[in-house]
């Protein structure tokens, strides 16, 4: 870490000299003394980590110096050091943005040391945060986080590039496991908002009664269990991106509240009266066809248009052809790196097996299958036997077996139930069969 630069503005040569010398005893500090405001301002662009400012200078008042520093360098902490205790002046200076107000006495040195310790901790934390942000940014670098060069994905990349260079609302649609959140993060961490928060909320995972408090926050005592004030996700994401996953699952009553927040750009915490301004980019995702949900009356039309923004459809893995192998190789490499093992590769039959499978769980399922295959592999080749699907519903496999029509039907229904997360209503519509037929088959355990 670089030395911490400290500027002392002090016209009393005796006091200035002694403070400079004392602080310089710490080799981590680079302490510079200025006896006029003018000489100090010439060096201000060196961005010191701390400024101690004598309140009475010959060429400018302490207040004027403080205001000028705050105008151009608002983040640099300024400690005002005065020869006398003056509560009114201290309050005024603190209001003007001074970090602290100290009087010159035998304790001043200790108090400056204490402030330096705090600043050093803050600098360490800032450095750590910056490092972590950098790592996250690298993690969500497009070339690393979004794999694939199939024609359908190339169309997605074109849209993603447009999304990165603007702050338009985004609606990402795609089956479960297609990587909607990965795309949302990749867009955020490659956009101008990358140093601001990315806050993700899965609407489907939060009970209906708690969603308002989760999104907008609550005041202490707003409801049973609200033991303290809590800020909501909108406030948390202020200045950054709020990712609302599974937006199609939001209750209609809540949809109207969300619409109002998006229109007014302000929230009111549950149990509170104050209005809080919020400004964040919204990215929504769903596995549902929202337009269809609007037609069915399950989703508000006005909210739909408010959220539609730039729509990005993520294709299912089965439509991505050779991307399956690219992704599989990527997951193998990732597994080998994380587990510190030698390189593994896919045998031609195992590649064929991966390409033939329907992937109802999409990329998420592929990752799980590959990780299991890596574990099962005996040497550096992953054979087809190492590739095990959680439920062997591959249509290819189904058709290769000699079964009765009833068995084929059962397998087809099983396949669709897996694909649509056991959503019986959806499967009955897709296959144009009655819901009761499916429920009956489930009850009799024929599927």
């Amino acid at each position: 870490m670089d030395r911490i630069k400290i500027f002392i503005i002090e016209d009393d040569p005796f006091y200035g000299e002694i403070i400079q010398y004392n602080l310089s005893l710490n080799p981590e500090l680079d302490v510079q003394l200025f006896n006029t405001a003018e000489s100090f301002f010439k060096k201000l662009d060196e961005n010191p980590a701390l400024i101690t400012l004598d309140y009475s200078l010959p060429d400018m008042t302490g207040e004027a110096v403080l205001k000028r520093i705050k105008k151009t360098h608002p983040d640099i902490p300024v400690v005002v050091v005065s020869g006398q205790e003056d509560l009114q002046t201290a309050i005024r200076l603190l209001k003007d943005g001074a970090y602290d107000y100290l009087t010159k006495d035998e304790d001043t040195k200790e108090r400056i040391w204490s402030i330096i310790r705090n600043i050093r901790e803050n600098l360490n934390l800032r450095e750590e945060i910056s490092h972590l942000k950098d790592q996250i940014s690298k993690k969500f670098d497009f070339s690393k986080s979004v794999i694939g060069n199939s024609p359908v994905m190339k169309k997605v990349y074109t849209l993603v590039q447009k999304a990165v260079s603007s702050s338009i609302t985004l609606s990402i649609n795609g089956e479960t496991g297609t990587g909607k959140e990965v795309i949302a993060k990749a867009i955020h961490f490659n956009s101008k908002l990358k140093n601001k928060p990315f806050v993700s909320v899965n609407i489907a995972a939060i009970p209906k009664d708690l969603i308002e408090s989760e999104l907008f926050g609550h005041e202490k005592g707003a409801f049973t269990g609200a033991i303290a004030r809590r800020i909501g996700k909108f406030e948390e994401a202020d200045g950054g991106t709020l990712f609302l996953d599974e937006i199609g699952e939001m209750d209609v009553n809540m949809q109207s509240k969300l619409l109002r927040v998006l229109q007014e750009k302000e929230v009111t915490r549950v149990g509170g009266n104050g209005v809080i301004k919020v400004n964040c980019r919204i990215i929504v995702a769903t596995h549902r066809d929202l337009a269809d949900e609007v037609r069915k009356g399950n989703f508000r039309e006005d909210l739909y248009y408010r959220l539609l923004g730039l729509p990005i459809h993520l294709p299912p893995l089965r439509m991505r052809g050779n991307d399956i192998l690219l992704l599989a190789k990527h997951f193998i490499a990732e597994y080998c790196k994380e587990n510190d093992i030698g390189k593994l590769s896919l045998s031609p039959p195992s590649q064929h097996k991966l390409l033939k499978y329907e992937w109802p769980g999409n990329v998420r399922e592929l990752k799980a299958v590959i990780e299991l295959a890596c574990v099962m592999a005996d040497d550096d080749i992953i054979e087809q036997d190492h590739i095990q699907f959680s439920k062997n519903y591959s249509m290819d496999n189904v058709m290769n077996k000699e079964m009765s029509l009833r068995e084929y039907s059962n397998n087809i229904i099983k396949h669709f139930l897996l694909k649509y997360n056991d959503d019986v209503v959806m499967v009955s519509k897709k296959l144009k069969i009655g819901k009761s037929t499916i429920y009956r088959m489930l009850q009799t355990k024929s599927i």
Binding site: D12, P13, F14, E17, I18, Y21, G83, Q84, K104, E106
Partner: protein, 126 residues
């Protein structure tokens, strides 16, 4: 009310503990600060005396204010409150006699301190 008793030459009027502590054990630095004090104090004292002659209370207050940290750092206990008192008297435009007495006392003690500081090596004082 300040008791302006004179002091005997034998009484040590300063205490360098604070500066020694801040020097981190560097005696050269302590020496440098002592010399700086001896060099700067007469000028500030003159400003106070001139201010008194010219009834320039602002000048007295300003010079006393500047003298305060060095008096504290040099551990001149007899003047710790006195220098603050002069600053206050100047701010309040106190009567000349009161201010005169206070300034004379300050001058007298400072002269003794500087004499002691200059002779400290000879007398084996610290």
């Amino acid at each position: 009310m300040t008791n302006y008793n004179t002091t005997t030459m034998e009484e040590k009027l300063y205490n360098l503990e604070q500066i020694e502590l801040m020097s981190g054990g560097n005696s050269l630095f302590v020496e440098k600060m002592v010399n700086l004090f001896i060099e700067l104090t007469p000028e500030l004292m003159n400003r106070i005396k001139t201010g008194l002659i010219e009834s320039d209370y602002l000048e007295i207050k300003s010079a006393a204010h500047k003298m305060k940290p060095s008096i504290d750092m040099m551990g001149i206990g007899k003047l710790k409150n006195e220098i603050r008192n002069i600053e206050k008297l100047a701010l309040e435009h106190a009567d000349v006699m009161t201010l005169n007495n206070a300034i004379n006392y300050l001058d007298s003690i400072l002269n003794q301190v500087m004499l002691q500081l200059k002779n400290r090596d000879k007398e084996g004082l610290n």
